[in-house]
């Protein structure tokens, strides 16, 4: 029996249009939009769970609910680890433009230490090496980095805190194909090295196939298919999964 790092049970979530237009009488005829529909899954220790779905299917919303980033939900979300981290899709808004790479990493290290992760912490130059960046990047500002390099720094900032679970929200979608492959290899290596579990999000089943153990297929906020990634890839059951697969070829 494996132990799970995260359990999500019957989670539903809504965006309220009225809330966004506060102060005006917009309640009439404007119903709340449901983004997550009865989502249930769990992530096992050491597992990479894929989450695939079209843009707008609710993948980012699920992350925000799981991490408590200002997203109300119904249902249960149970964390068996503390302080899971997240890597965002857009590498250009993921690093503080006013701060150097070194500052950002030291801040992440400090946050991890305050939670008592002092033992076996990787140091800033070491973690940079781990993500394939030389020490000279310590004094660089984000605008001096490419998208791929930024994403490496974001991954380093997440890993340096020694979390057990990292949510990767389309971490390679904004990158060139060759850079994508490099980042995917990096993620696989870091996972082994630091004993991580991933929730790996993509709209591209091909990418999911390369890195994940299991996969959830999400359509309009609902999990329509799930299972072993090879099985889903080779023998999709749901029409939506078949459509996603067709889009890959």
């Amino acid at each position: 029996m494996t132990e799970s790092v995260l359990e999500v049970r019957h989670v539903s979530s809504y965006y309220t249009k009225a809330r966004r237009l506060s102060g005006t009488h917009s309640g009439f005829g404007e119903r709340d939009m449901q983004v997550l529909r009865d989502v249930t899954f769990s992530i096992q220790k050491g597992e990479t769970l894929g989450l695939v779905g079209e843009s707008g299917s609710g993948k980012t919303t699920l992350c925000r609910a799981v991490l408590g980033l200002g997203m109300d939900y119904e249902g249960e979300i149970i964390h068996h680890t503390d302080h899971p981290q997240m890597v965002f899709q857009d590498p250009y808004s993921s690093l503080n433009p006013a701060r150097t790479v070194g500052w950002t990493l030291r801040e992440a290290l400090r946050a991890g230490e305050r939670r008592g992760k002092r033992a076996s912490r990787p140091l800033v130059p070491e973690i940079l090496g781990q993500v394939g960046l030389s020490e000279e990047y310590i004094d660089r500002y984000p605008y001096e980095l490419s998208g791929g390099q930024r994403q490496r720094v974001c991954i380093a900032a997440a890993v340096i805190q020694r979390p057990q679970l990292i949510l990767l929200d389309e971490p390679v979608s904004a990158l060139d194909v060759t850079i994508q492959a490099q980042i995917l290899r990096l993620l696989v290596r870091l996972k082994k090295e630091f004993g991580l579990s991933y929730l790996f999000i993509s709209h591209d089943l091909n990418v999911i196939y390369q890195i994940c153990d299991r996969v959830l297929v999400m359509k309009q906020g609902e999990i329509v298919e799930s299972g072993d990634v090879r099985q889903v890839y080779e023998d999709p059951q749901h029409d939506y999964t078949k459509m996603l697969l067709a889009a890959v070829d």
């Binding site: 980033l69 857009d90 808004s93 993921s94 503080n96 006013a98 991890g112 939670r115």
Partner: protein, 270 residues
């Protein structure tokens, strides 16, 4: 934050440095006493002895311009400090937390900005009296809205950025997120606001003193001296020219700095 060098910045830096040196020196030493009258040397034109000539009391204009600039400089500095600290405090809290307090405070700021600051200052100072401390406090408070507004806009923009979400996930405290993660992002808009505010403060103080509700004699500020010099425009035009010139130099130096900083921080860069 990195500021790339450029022509405006360099000129502004040199001018500001020279002026600052002259002004700071003036706090401790001037070629002649600023109030020392000399009946034998009335309304002398500029010469090597008196760089900007003398006024109708035989006082050295250069010495008086330097010490007047010192007064103006101190007041402007204080006004900007009060306005900036107050504005950053209000602006960052409003921008970060939003809500009703934000809406109310921003309306109050709008209301204050709707009146010319100088007009409000005139009213307040004529009620409570002039003098350096009153002018400084009064102008400083009136300058808060302009700072609060730019800071609020930036903080509200940055608040929901991914890198701030990351900081929250790290478990960084709200205070530290505001101070160390968000505030540095407001510097590119805050620095020009500070320099523009400084210039406005120099001009506001000069205007008030010129109108006679600012700095009172025998203390001299550029504004009060400009008013005095008017009377002797025919007999000692160098008095007005020297004083007015100093105001122009002060404002120009800081404007160049401001322009240089704005160009050097590369607005619009990701």
């Amino acid at each position: 934050m990195k500021i790339r060098k450029n022509g405006f910045l360099k000129t502004g830096e040199i001018m500001s440095l020279v002026l600052a040196t002259v002004i700071v020196t003036g706090f401790f030493w001037t070629p002649y006493g600023t109030t020392a009258m000399n009946a034998a040397e009335k309304t002398l034109p500029p010469s090597l002895h008196h760089l900007l000539g003398t006024d109708n009391f035989g006082r050295d204009v250069f010495s008086r311009v330097i010490s007047g600039a010192g007064t103006s400089f101190l007041i402007a500095l204080g006004v900007v400090a009060v306005g900036c600290i107050g504005g950053v405090l209000i602006g960052s809290l409003c921008g970060y937390f939003g809500g009703i307090a934000d809406a109310v405070l921003m309306r109050v700021c709008d209301a204050i900005t709707a009146f010319p600051a100088i007009l409000l200052a005139l009213v307040v100072v004529s009620l409570f009296g002039g003098g350096m401390a009153n002018i400084l406090l009064c102008l400083g408070l009136l300058f808060i809205p302009s700072f609060a507004r730019v800071v609020r806009t930036e903080v509200a923009r940055v608040r929901d950025m991914n890198y701030i979400q990351s900081a929250r996930l790290m478990g960084v405290s709200t205070g530290r997120i505001l101070l160390r993660h968000i505030l540095p992002n407001t510097f590119p808009v805050l620095l020009p606001a500070v320099t523009i505010g400084f210039n406005n403060a120099v001009l506001a103080e000069a205007s008030m003193s010129f109108l006679g509700v600012g700095i009172q004699p025998p203390q001299a500020s550029l504004g009060s001296m400009l008013k005095d010099s008017q009377t002797y425009l025919n007999t000692a035009p160098w008095y007005a020219l020297g004083t007015g010139g100093m105001i122009v130099l002060l404002v120009l130096a800081v404007s160049l700095l401001s322009e240089g900083i704005q160009q050097g921080t590369g607005r619009g860069q990701v």
